[in-house]
Amino acid sequence: MILLAALVLGLPAGWGLARWQGRQYRAPDLKYLWLIPAAFAPQLVVAYWPATRELLPPPAAAAALPVSLVAFLAFVWLNRGLPGMPVLLVGLVLNLVVLAANGGWMPISPETASQLPGGSAPEAAVLEMRIGEKDILLRPEDTRLELLSDRFLLPDWIGYRAAFSLGDMFVAAGAFWLLASPPRAPNPNRRENAHI
């Protein structure tokens, strides 16, 4: 949920910039929008919808996130010309790589997880247990590409505890950039000007 802050901040930033430049704010011209719900569907089943989280057998559930991210990768690649999308693409690839390297889930260490709301002491942690939506509890020494795992914590002064990865930072920056750099409205006089 912390990533939604990028949207919440990016939208007024883009709107304010458009107003300052004396033009109307417009949504980014995203193509192949239908790919997003299609790519999100596997995650809805295995991660977000409580009623279906337990339905799939573990191997199928573990495959769902990487498959979903590959579909998102297609969408982001098709829209790579938009501002912020290359940054978003970097974040997606980083998260996809670490997920694929760790059995389809985002690794988080017992020490980091213990600092989240509801977390128990690291020594009481049950390894390889799913926590949250997409994370799996792994010791750092058992984690592949540990640098890309959910190893960062929001600072205390924010008052909200969340762990995130390097890829998440790129995703947030890309989403903010995308919304804060809205496309310019097509100039109705462009054709006339072309003759000048």
Binding site: L116, G119, R130, L137, A175
Partner: protein, 54 residues
């Protein structure tokens, strides 16, 4: 009069379409970053279920 009414309807349709488009894009982007990102904001190691060997 009819022309003005038609212009008004055209304008309101245009504004509505832009607003609807913006809402659709924002919702899609929310889904996109929720799908791409993988932060954890709670739960601790006591929730969820065991996953097969990594």
């Amino acid at each position: 009069m009819n022309k003005k009414l038609a212009q008004l309807i055209f304008l309101s349709n245009r504004i509505n379409r832009q607003h609807v488009q913006l809402v659709v894009v924002i919702l899609s982007l929310a889904m996109l970053i929720l799908g791409i990102g993988a932060p954890s904001d709670g739960g601790g190691p006591t929730r969820g279920r065991l996953v097969g060997g990594v």
